[in-house]
Subunit: 310 residues, 4 copies
């Protein structure tokens, strides 16, 4: 179970005392506030706080465009218009704060999105918990030869089992030696009275990259959608996609109109190059197309065929 | 009065319907939510939304430092510690959204703070209101000869009166011609049926820099404090300081413990150079100090004397 | 002429002394270094410095992807791949510094791109030159009724002439009163020995928004391309597009391979929504399409028809 | 040796062909361009490119302040003035690009500085080299009890030796199993023809945090100085300080005047709170001071005494 007793008590306590506010409030998000939504084997995502809703986006947009946008009377229409024309600033007016527990190698991908605020658990100050991500059998796959950064077929059950055992035993052994070097276990007990132990900032280097860390992560809706467009995508690594999918679901509860526009214009949409537009025009006119003559690569041509059932 | 009837109705409507939330809530900020706090002759600051409070800062810091900071049991002590050691990320966990009406020449200074989200009223889409900032007599002062970007003595009442009249008549005339060029007044009435008028994005160039604009401005607490340290300072231009002082007051209501630490460590504090430290050490030891020999400029020496009543 | 004598002498001096460097160097950019490229009636763009070239982008990408991208042996192919898959970080590895002179109302649009470094001429410190942007007759157009932020037909020569005269006389009058209030003209001469004049930070508020300002603007190539995608677009205001087109030309000289990929994938490309993909698929299959039934707006349908000659 | 043969050949090749440029050039930085400056046991810092010099900072500042700053005729004086008054934008006008090889646990600290451009070696695309950071005996120290994130005394040689052996054997074992899971060694040879191996993006999770990674890191001088103020500080972890000290030395070669001002106003300087100013004033006046009555903590009082030899 992802939260320890102390944390669970805190969740219950926070959910027990409600306040009165004049701020924009989203009941369906209030329902899950503070609650851990499980991710992978030991991770979670929790909504800690949020600011704004679909109406706040509309309101900000109307300040910008003034009387000039009175014509788009409908809120839904205005949000679709903003999404379609990449008017990003109104979406920046909403903010969300999440508490996320995740393996370090995923945290390293995640942090590459710089436009967010982060408070990570510091292994210089405190000892990391003994929790590692061990993939399940169905998520162990071989290296893709086509996609240099992707996965191909699943391993045989035997090979998968062997990999899982290696991951487990290495993580446990390095953690055990982490404690030995600290001369302290995760309960704060000294292991050997005759030795000093090394500083936490040093000992942590012995841990493997599947060790779990956690952080508070705060981001505006515009940058969050950008994160989701990349990380909920089929090309993203499975382990970060698990988190992105949970967050997509949070976004759906939080700003349902924006979510719908995002699905239509970003997730389900596509980008075409000038050359691809020309090719499609020819196809529509019934002309035959020679991709080489059009100057696009085999890969691009293959993807275009797939996208439009050519 | 800064808000028009439509806007006032909106404030009343927003303040009439309260919601229940599990989020951190600050009663003294709720009291002023949506209400315009007047600034200069036609401007205002309104708090539209906020996220977090002093406790949220402490909570984020404790996630970072884990069990390691249990020692600083006191919340106030922890916030002071964070402020003192420039640990900025916990303060980034709070966010505020303001609606500000301000003269364009001040908006140009303000926008230089890049780490904020902004939705400004667009004069490409809509016609700007006929409102200009005209300084009051006591705020009209001559150019400082010492501080290249500052003011010195006040003008004589006669000269002040003359300046005010020039500012008024030029602003009114350029606004009148703005309407003529648009061929439309601010009520949307056509002025001359036989002419076309020019596009709003063009006509606006005829307006003077004291014309009022407005925007939604959203920023995290850490960057807001940085803004305030610069703009509530005695060296800031009076007109932006008026806004900074109002916001300082909002911060005091919002996060009183952080406000206190900010006053102690930033606003009332000072930065000393290596050379100034050496000089103070000598003075404390009772040695005589020759500023030239110590390698500091006359100006630095003067400021040091003033700071420490030397 | 945009540069004054002093500035011209500086350009000649800077261009007279060449250095030897081991850094990536772009001869076609060196040819125009420091030289003012005219924009509008008094503005210009000058390249002051640059870092990196097409090869630097490739080199950075190869560090990221390591041996894994050996397959894309061709530099041009790799840059196209990066552009197509929105891999933005390698493009961030190039940087350019420009000196730009531009009207204030355009500077206000420009500065909304926050991810750049800016040093603007300060009218708190110094007196602004007597230079205003006055549009030429062919750039004066009426307000578009379809595009709320755009222009429609050109004015009649008579109306255009009238507008130009209003713009000129208002700019000149407000500048004259700026000098009166400063009690100083732009040559630094005192106007009236018996009056004090007001501070520069105050007097500037009397100037109109078409007054020219100038700044040093430094930005990385990725953010610059984003700026150009928005500001060299047909929907951008003509006056900023003039600057964007000049900068596009600079980019072409600087990183020709990147420029070509940018033209293909961004400028000439397009974004399709999920619904638009479905519609195109139907059209390709020869089915008839009812835009209403597909759930897209009239405007979207019109634009789609135009894009693909439907 | 930090660079492999291929990389060394590239350095020599890059240093062999010099170009002619009109850009600002710094001979003492050209001398070390591309060359690896060793850090820790397998790491390095290399200067790959740079933009600007001390003169560029002055030039940008003069554009901002115009004729208004003619008075500060001296370049050195102007840079000191800018540093002292925290005028950060002119320092943003210089940029540097570094190639850094560093252990992952240090990379995780480093990346928290968000205002930089980064291209990191991707272990999704490519296999990481078999290189781990193993501290030397004199850098192994026990946990500080005063500073929750620091080190205290050095370990006994016996305990140090034991720790080093644990770090080595765990890193080697996990790397060996990394190869087993990949079914490929770092030379690209398949280990077992009968097994598939898992994807690189998965296998990497078995590596320990002292494994080396590398990246291109580009940052402006203002943000670099902020990074150095934090990371070259005595409170920073030793391992990141090693890199910060190397970069400080690079800054000294690059912009010697700025470096000197930075040393005086930042590195050697200090920040005093309002309360500390009051206390110093009393001490200067010869009054006795009771820290409790002044409202400062024991720790603050201790640090103040140390700073001023009280």
């Amino acid at each position: 179970m992802p939260l320890n007793k102390e944390q669970n008590d805190e969740v219950e306590q926070l959910r027990a005392s409600s306040n009165t506010t004049l701020r924009a409030t989203v009941p369906s998000l209030e329902e899950i506030l503070y609650k851990p939504l499980p991710a992978l084997d030991h991770g979670f995502v929790r909504v800690i706080d949020y600011m704004g809703d679909d109406t706040a986006i509309v309101q900000s947009a109307r300040v910008s465009y003034g009387k000039g946008t009175k014509k788009i009377s409908n809120d839904k229409g205005l949000i679709k218009y903003l999404m379609r024309h990449w008017h990003s600033t109104p979406f920046e007016m909403c903010e969300i704060k999440l508490h996320v527990k995740l393996p370090i190698f995923i945290a390293r991908q995640w942090i590459r999105h710089r436009t967010a605020n982060v408070n990570e658990y510091s292994a210089r100050y405190s000892i990391l918990d003994k929790e590692f991500y061990i993939p399940s059998v169905e998520n162990l796959a071989s290296q893709s030869q086509i996609n240099k950064q992707g996965r191909a077929e699943n391993l045989s059950p035997e090979e998968a089992k062997k990999v899982i055992e290696l991951l487990k035993s290495d993580a446990e052994q390095t953690y055990r030696n982490y404690e030995v070097m600290l001369n302290e276990n995760s309960d704060g007990e000294t292991l050997d009275e005759s030795s000093m132990g090394i500083a936490r900032e040093l000992a942590r280097m012995n841990l493997t990259l599947n060790t779990y860390t956690q952080w508070y992560w705060k981001i505006d809706l515009n940058n969050l959608l950008h994160f989701l467009a990349l990380r909920a995508d089929a090309h993203a690594q499975y382990e970060i996609r698990v988190y992105a999918d949970i967050i997509l679901d949070i976004v759906k509860k939080w700003v349902p109109v924006t979510y719908e526009a995002f699905e239509d214009y970003r997730v389900g949409g596509t980008q075409l190059s000038a050359k691809e537009i020309l090719i499609l025009k020819k196809i529509i006119k019934g002309e035959t197309v020679d991709p080489d003559a059009e100057g696009i690569s085999k890969r691009e041509w293959g993807e275009l065929q797939k996208k439009f059932d050519l």
